[in-house]
């Protein structure tokens, strides 16, 4: 008996140890980024302890920047990322629902078409997309920054995959209970897929938050809608880059997403496991 307990303890101890080592390994770039962001100019790559003076000088330089209003860029980023992620999650849920639960004409064709667009490198979309946005007069607008990326095929597939596991009897039952298609979607499908919807929301939020080239292109330089990545790019000069400041800026811009992810992650995992009724 004792031996069994001892062996279990040993096993758990080993697993724990492995996890700690793994965590250090995987978090290393993250920690290193924070480390670099605190260092003296030019010492970014060295394993010394030459920190900037004052300690948070790099962060200060980023925050009190004369050339771009950090807080406004931050707010713009927040607006773009939030509404972009919200619309993406909504549209993808609606699309995922019909792909999972409906039989309709041209379903296969539309499916393959969507799959095909996933395979094309994003760069190819930029110029045609930009032409459309201009035609629509969406330059310098939030919608110009958001809408073109709202049709997230990947998110749709993710949701479809999940929604397929919702038992049909639930939908039948709701139908008999008197629910319209929209009510079924709203009261059954959405609550039961919420974890995955959250996942899609988070991933799109992340994408929109870090999107640089598109936000740069779709705004004129005097636009009031410029976002954080565009602002951060100003730290990358023509001839040289201030790594320490850049890392400080990156650390800044990561804060909201890191907070969001960690806050949502319990929900995120638990939900993925919950899903449908068993048996």
């Amino acid at each position: 008996m004792d031996v069994v307990i001892f062996r279990r303890k040993l096993r758990n101890g080993l697993i724990f140890f492995a996890l700690v080592v793994g965590a250090v390994f995987m978090l290393f770039p993250f920690l290193w980024m924070l480390f670099v962001s605190l260092k003296k100019t030019g010492h970014g790559f060295l394993l010394d302890f030459a920190f900037a003076k004052p300690f948070f000088a790099n962060f200060k330089a980023v925050w009190n920047n004369p050339s771009f209003p950090f807080s406004r860029f931050f707010l713009n980023s927040l607006i773009v990322a939030t509404s972009g992620a919200f619309l993406t999650a909504l549209f993808c849920s609606m699309g995922g629902y019909v792909f999972a639960k409906k039989d309709f004409y041209l379903k296969e064709l539309v499916f393959w078409m969507m799959l095909a667009t996933l395979m094309v490198p994003g760069m190819m979309y930029m110029v045609p997309q930009f032409a459309i946005v201009t035609k629509l007069g969406w330059i310098n607008t939030y919608k110009g920054m958001i809408i073109p990326h709202v049709a997230n095929v990947f998110g749709l597939f993710l949701l479809r995959q999940h929604m397929e596991t919702i038992p049909n009897s639930l939908l039948d039952s709701a139908k008999i209970d008197g629910a319209s298609e929209w009510q079924i979607f709203r009261t059954i499908i959405v609550p039961l897929s919420l974890p995955v919807i959250t996942t899609v929301f988070l991933l799109t939020f992340l994408f929109q938050w870090t999107n640089f080239l598109w936000q740069l292109v779709v705004n004129t330089p005097d636009s009031a809608k410029l976002t954080l990545p565009v602002g951060l790019a100003l730290f990358k000069g023509q001839y040289s880059t201030e790594w320490t400041k850049l890392m400080a800026a990156s650390a800044f811009s990561i804060i909201p997403i890191a907070v969001l992810f960690i806050a949502a992650q319990r929900f995120f995992i638990e939900g993925l496991t919950a899903g449908a009724v068993k048996e």
Partner: protein, 369 residues
Amino acid sequence: MAEVVLNNVSKIYPGGVIGCKDINLHIKDKEFCVLVGPSGCGKSTTLRVIAGLEEITSGELKIGDTVVNNIPAKDRDIAMVFQNYALYPHMKVRENLAFGLKLRKYPPAEIEKRIQETAKILEIDHLLDRRPKALSGGQRQRVALGRAIVRKPKVFLFDEPLSNLDAKLRVQMRVEIKKLHARLQITSIYVTHDQVEAMTMGDKIVVMKDGFIQQIDDPIKIYEKPLTKFVAGFIGSPAMNFISVKITSRNGNFEASEVPSGFVYMLKSEDFPFLRDYDGKEVVMGIRPEDIKDTIFANIKDAENTVPAVVEAEEPMGSENYIHLTTQSSAITMKTAGSNRVKMGDRLNLVFDRNKLHFFDRETDRKIE
């Protein structure tokens, strides 16, 4: 008035797969009708057609006085209990019950009243604030029932509602559903693959196979006068014994000789006038286990008609005992009193109750009358 009438209803899936075909069924108001058959027989399809979850390919379906072919499920005023209960996992029991009413815009006070009422009937008042996950199987079953009851629909539909419960609970719920039906007096259509459930619950039983109706009758008729070999074999436990025999006319009577062994059963022609058409042909003879007696146990002497058989196994059930035997070329089960015990290899002389013999055409499987 909530009769359910199906006239020539068919459901053919794309690709020609038959769901159900030419269903003619008249379920009277307040009747408890059971659709029974093995899996894939079309009983569930029929139910879903009635519910409006499947579209009718052809035919006419009436609920009450209205043809509902093109009326969506939500407007048919029916309620359905699903095999897996289909409780909304993200809603509390209370919300599950209220859902249908809410969607139909009932005033909150009325909803609450009905929930209380239903909860009392089903004794689930203490569960109202739990989520389905936190309920036992039986409790979930009750909530599922409650969700149907609370709406006070014209018709109840049950899709194998008890098959996920353990045996004891199943028996208990069977009775409760019967009681509920007696109390609420709502037309009910109940689908099951379990013939015991069908027999015990149905006012009317519909036996189905391969998408077609085999027989519609009350339980006793179904049992005593099965119209097809399939019905005969499906209803009743243990199942009816079937023996292939060849009929030959001899001395004004019939000889039924077992195939292939040739063992001869003598049959009086006045009892079986309908066998005249089958002179020289093979038919299937059926006899229920309880209609077989043993010369020793029953203490009867009918030397002419004793069938020697060897015991293979026995299933003592307490009150009765099922004995499995083989005659020269058929396996036969008999039901006898629990005290009548045998050993493997015992030789018994069986006596078939000739008034309880059934004959079926080999080609059509239909009863020969």
